[in-house]
Symmetry: D2
Subunit: 360 residues, 4 copies
């Protein structure tokens, strides 16, 4: 009997999701002869009634390589383990195992962030549901893989924004603050800031001292450069008065109350800097649009390799790339965060390029 | 003796300023044999000491056609008529007339928005300082000219943002709010919203009813389109409870207190819409970067025509384009605002394309 | 009974075709309640068996505004009046009238270039088939309308290419030749050349003297600018030795034999210019991809107005824009070519900007 | 005494050259306190009289990160070892050693391709001239380094072209041939072709069988996809009748006589394919324009590391990146070409994505 494999996309959007779907489906259908079942809106397409799935063939994936978003939809509606179950079902894992049996789906390819991968892992551990993971985060903050698709696309959007801000900042003699994504990690801010010649880059991993930021802006003014470009990750916060980072428990609250990282920074600079400040908040621009070529290629390779894992029966593994070689790691290792190392070469290069990081 | 003509850029940045400078200088130097004197930071380069000017020749303008910003700098430091004058000088106009005589500058080409043109007009009226105006506003809201350079570039940035937001909004089932420039007029919002297939476009000229906006979003949800794209001009506000627009005197205060037009809209929709909402605030992105081709061409034509006006001794006029023909109008007519006409073809087309404008 | 109106796209591709289809369909379906029938591959979808048509509703056109190409396909397979007819049919017009009767299609909206509009006109004249035309040419060379959609998109592609060539030409001290579309008219070359700061612009309307082109390049070298950027329209040719243009009858042959306009130019400059020359041939890049915002808007307005013409029973007319107002002209006037006027303001501005046009 | 280090750019243009210059200069000036001497037009700025050099300080490199081209110029005027020497000088190496002594330049940072690096190596070997190399090739075909700057930028230009060609090819039912750079190696063609969903990718390393290419196009037509997208590297040729590659000695001649790789392919398909074919030749577009963010970052890292090598006295080495770590290798290993391995994962992925490579 023809094998039937499900595929779904979970968590936030990232450019390249469709390229993974196409990469997996092409290989699955043409090389291995399987039926590929697209599941809509993450696990919801299977959990909620009516179920929503669609057979994916060559035609369904033929044109989608360059498309942003995901043809399968995604969702952020909270943890499916908290969802109410149909009567008679005891837990999500056994419910889902039953659904898969009814749909004759042998296993699942789960494209998603760490939250989605944790759900996949739990399904496998609790009821042996066969899963293969494909990592997805525009933040590029998974320690298991050198790179995730969507990251370079997000960096590109942020860098183009910096290119635009440079001309207007310089003509106007203003401080331009660009808030980019990165709630926990500053990879996007660091890459875009370096590529876009920012004068200041503030990231969650390095709590910043507003006085240092202001001093940098003033030094530039004294040299006749009456403008500065500041990149701030959405999770970057000033250090506490004693120099320590804001406690994890307080971070979300502080960011929300302060109106976001850009607003908090501008409030902290108020009075210390003699220049008008203006904020641009990119928000979901960084998640949308067509992936850059290298993300399309990486996502295609991830999708194709996921098919190879299924073909080899290597369930419970997550695709990754290391040293430009695509292979896999156990799903258990999927969700370890990779932070920006303050002692890394890139941070060092930033300092060499005269970028102020807000801390010694 | 060789004529010496000054040129300056005032007010906010707009893509195409450098193209005007190049267009004027090429024609002035090569056709007419004048000396062109670039004046830095609007009138400040002449008013403040030390004066800051630079001779512009072919070489200075050779590469600048496609550059964003302005090589002459600009400023927003308030009304120069309020500046303190050097001792012994009675008023700005007579001071400036004296400075021009000292610098042997016969007259000024003033590239700027309505504020800058009003200053130019006053200088001419008070002391006969010869000026030619070139209009500049990315908002395209001057009744004297069909089009201003920078507008299409700003529309392009906003439309590209909408293209990106579409993919992610649809995958995520979210309401995406894009705040674009337009404090008094909604031309950018209307053009970008129509070009970017927005579902809702809110502009300052049409005070909106949040209930109508919410109803549009809900109608879409009922049809299975669980996402919507909303463009809101930075000056768009809900109507007062009695349906009237917010009084002009209160508008700035309301916008500031509410955190900007996007925040005010999201607060007004809160509780009426069952979907997550996310804001992107483009800010100065719309002013920066290289002008689109049609803006480069328009700005070049404006600059060249300004030289023709000077050559003909037609001081006191402002360049404009009407029915694709570049000519000029009296400077007195420069600063009349052109609002979006709620009965115009474009608003009508928006409604035909099922766009909700927030009002009947 | 519900009216049924057909719509088709003919001739070469142009960015904005889908925006017209959407503009017409939205208005036709929602305002007027008609059935819209999309016809595939120009008239072929009706003429050839099996017929290929598709009902277009809101859903079919909902996402297509920004798409390049045409969802209805187009064709260049020659004149349908030369096609073999089904047995028993006497001529194409009567055959098509019969087909439309069978399909219960009352009339046709025909989006296409001058060739397609001539076919439409002949169908109307021979058998009274009701047609409304929408002009389409990226060359913007129709005298009946100020502007056609697709033109600004093509200019944008060509200008971006020039921007790229500038940096590399200057670093390398090379002559870069960019061949752009424009077999009969030079509007794209002139607009892109001016927007992209070309040093030389060669168009079909002005037969060029290679010696003048070479002299321009040499003058630049003597000033230390050892590179030049040349834009050449695909239909630009050197003048005959006596200074007259190449006879119309010979043009295509000459262009083909010479390997295209860029090759002919480079051969003509060989030996006259002491610099390496390199050619870029954009070809169909200029027809593909997403339309720029102003083309999306113009195409939307054209589509909506076509519906208004049908609603008013004004068959036999072609939509156009004049002085930023969308209206219509008789279809008989559709196909009059608008050439670049060598005495126009734009050509004059080009000369003022020191562009060499290859002739006095 | 302050150390003086020279820097130059040689060979073809590549996006990112200015980023290297900036990266080196910032580190050299600010961290190490050296004087940096920019040398114009590769070695020519030192060899030819008058010498052309310029002191590079912070100000000279402040804005250049995102610029295409090279502020130092480059040249392709042949091997400087063949240049005539000033009277009394015996060989280039000793002449240059003398010039460096006169200019008080201690050593050279040489940014260039394999040709330029060979010159640098010979200068060092013959006369002990201290050099540090920075590799430059948009082809990414050096075995010593995982990646070279400019490559991703070139891939991006080519992929955007493919995106555009897709829409127009599909609407028109045409075969679109895109010729991309790659005289000896097919890395650009392979990456861009995979990222841009090409149906056929032809590279120098895999001599192609035109019959296989035609068969692929026909298979697509039989499935109703009457268009195909073909990427051909400028050095790709059909196999000889016996299946062997064209002899190296004949390749350039064959390509030139055939009018380039795209023309040769179209001629070989003529008569085998029932569809119109159109060519786009990108040429130097791929070398020009602003580098993509990842190229800016890589180039910055290369430049900074070159300064570290000079500081450590590690002359005779070339910067490279391996496994995302920037270090160096002996200059002797600089010029080994990395070809596309027909058994590599990427070629395999291409086949999995149904790409025809023209050979089994």
């Amino acid at each position: 009997m023809t094998r039937r494999i499900g595929i779904l996309t979970g968590g936030g959007d990232a450019p390249g999701l469709n390229a993974v779907i196409r990469g997996f489906t092409r290989r699955a259908v043409r090389e291995f002869g399987w039926q590929v079942v697209g599941i809509f809106d993450s696990f919801n397409g299977l959990i909620l009634e009516p179920r929503r799935t669609q057979r994916l063939k060559d035609d369904e994936v033929r044109k989608i390589l360059a498309w942003g978003g995901t043809i399968l939809g995604t969702t952020n509606r909270g943890d499916p383990f908290d969802f109410p179950l149909p009567e008679g079902r005891q837990d999500l894992s056994s419910h889902l195992a039953q659904v898969l049996a009814e749909e004759k789906i042998e296993g699942l390819v789960v494209i998603g962030g760490d939250g989605t991968q944790k759900i996949a892992l739990r399904l496998m551990q609790e009821r042996g549901i066969p899963v293969v993971g494909v990592p997805k985060t525009i933040d590029n903050d998974l320690s298991g893989t050198d790179l995730t698709f969507g990251f370079q696309s997000a960096v590109c959007v942020a860098t183009e924004a910096l290119d635009r801000l440079h001309t207007t900042a310089e003509s106007h003699e203003r401080v331009m603050v660009l808030e980019v994504m990165g709630r926990d990690t500053g990879h996007i801010a660091l890459h875009a800031g370096l590529s876009g010649a920012a004068d200041v880059i503030l990231i969650p991993e390095i709590p910043y001292d507003p006085a240092r930021v202001a001093a940098k802006i003033q030094r530039r003014q004294r040299k006749g450069r009456c403008y500065s470009i500041v990149v701030v990750a959405e999770g970057a916060l000033p250090a506490e008065p004693d120099g320590r980072p804001v406690a994890e428990a307080d971070r979300s609250r502080r960011l929300r109350a302060g109106g976001g990282a850009a607003q908090i920074l501008m409030a902290a600079l108020e009075g210390r800097v003699d220049a008008e400040m203006r904020a641009t908040v990119l928000g979901h621009l960084q998640r949308g649009g067509s992936p850059v070529p290298s993300d399309r290629l990486l996502a295609t390779r991830f999708g194709a390799h996921a098919a190879d894992l299924v073909a080899a029966g290597r369930w419970g593994r997550m695709v990754r790339i290391r040293d430009d070689h695509v292979d896999s790691i156990p799903l258990e290792q999927a969700a370890i965060t990779r932070f920006v190392d303050p002692d890394s070469e890139l941070v060092s290069v930033a300092r060499q390029m005269l970028v102020e990081l807000g801390s010694e």
